[in-house]
Each structure stands twice: as structure tokens, then as C-alpha cells.
Symmetry: C2
Subunit: 151 residues, 2 copies
Amino acid sequence: MQLTLYTDYSLRVLLYLGQKEAGESATISEIADFYGVSRNHLVKVVHHLATLGLLKTTRGKGGGVRLARDPATVTIGEVVRATEPHFHLVECFDPEAPTCSVLNDCRLKGVLGEATRAFFSVLDRYTLADMLQPSTSADELTIPLNRIRRG
Amino acid sequence: MQLTLYTDYSLRVLLYLGQKEAGESATISEIADFYGVSRNHLVKVVHHLATLGLLKTTRGKGGGVRLARDPATVTIGEVVRATEPHFHLVECFDPEAPTCSVLNDCRLKGVLGEATRAFFSVLDRYTLADMLQPSTSADELTIPLNRIRRG
């Protein structure tokens, strides 16, 4: 279970810019160097985030990219919804590949949909600004994988 | 955002066998034909589900595969946990690819972990048997994608 690298990079760009002073820009090369990732990948990501109204870009010398909105108003859920290509958790979600149409009464799709809504209900509660503030309940937020495995 | 095809096929095998009469077997070829998927893929899936104690296999003429447990005792969460290779939603979850170690105070990993726990808390409430019973609240279970997109 994973999100795309595209979403991963989108969140990283937004978080990097979110920790700057308000209105301060960075270059794409600076962000790529910081994370040790391909500049070419980030060019696409930045362009998309700009079309979504999340970033402002300025060309020329001294130009760069900066957040277009207050990070306290941008939820993680909003970003992930906009950057993930689809939410077809299993094939039966995909209208173009319905090889499982025989089990018409199967409730799996509905239950996976309910689980995905629960996933986003958490992401909708947190903003970019929240990600960059020291946690007040750090213990709760640092052992997710163990808890997932144990059920 | 998606689960692996391996999890998809695992759930399909279990659901196919779950709709049989108790103790009734099917061949792997029968299940592969039903879903129109590769028999070779299902061989691996069936072997794994048998090692997990979810299926029993019988060799020879008249042999086949059947559920090893009452479908009312097998939760969807249990199956997905056992068949997904990992829950590294973004790269910072992966201890072998920690290219984002610089933003040490970033809370994203913790929040995605909390969202993943919410996802599984739904899947843990439903069993294989629930998937095969006609829904009593069908409306609630058939419009998940729209709701996800709208937020």
C-alpha cells in the first residue's frame, strides 16, 4: 500500500517551502539538492502545484517558487487528492478493467471505499503548517508501522 | 493510491471460496477462469494463503483448495496486512531509503501512519462473510469514489 512518488515529491516541495519565511522563494535546484532527487521530476511537480494554485513561480534572475497560500490553510488531504492519479485500491474500482463483474453482490468495493474515506478524514484534519510544528504528542505519532502490523 | 495486484487476487480467491458451501473445494484453474486472470499468479497466491492458514489444499484427482477457516472469522484487515508487502506510503517510511532525514521534525510520517491506522480500523470491522452478504445499507456502500474526490 503506497502513494505515488509524485505525491511524495509534491508534499516534499510544499513542506520545504512551508518552512521558509512567509513569501520567501526557493529555486527548484535548491529543493532537488536538499532532498537528493531529480530536478526534472520536481519541474513537473512544481508546474502542477502552480496550476492547482498552491505555488507561485517567478521567472528570471532572483526568481523561484514559493507558497501561494498560507500553509495553515492547505490540508494534507487536499494535496494527496490532487496529486494521486486514482484511488482504485483494487481492480474492481477501475471502470476500464472490470474483470470481476460476475460477483455483483460483493461488498468489497464499498468497504474499501469506506476505509479510504477514513484515511482521508485523518489527512483532512492536518495542514502543511501542522507538519512543520513540533508535535505535542510525539509518542503517538512515531510508532505507526508497529501498530499497523499488530492490528 | 492502491493495493498490490497480489492483495487483489488474494481477496478474490478467498471470496470465491467463501461463496461455496462449507468445506467445498475448487481448483485453481476454476478460480482463474472465473476471474479471467493468470493461473500462474493464483498458484503463488494460493500457496501463500495456505501457509497463512487461510486455505487448505488437497492434491490429486478430486483435490483442490478450500477455506481453512469460517469466513465469518477472517477479517479483510487481516488479509490485507498479510498480503501487502509494505506500508511505506511515502519514502520516509522506508528505513532503507531515508533520503529525507534532514527535516527531522516533520510530522508527515506520523500523520500518514495515523491515516493508515484509520484505514485498517475499517477493514478490521468486516469479514469475508460480510462481503458476501447482501448489504442492508447499499446506498452507503456504493458511492465511495465521489465522496473521496469531493472531500
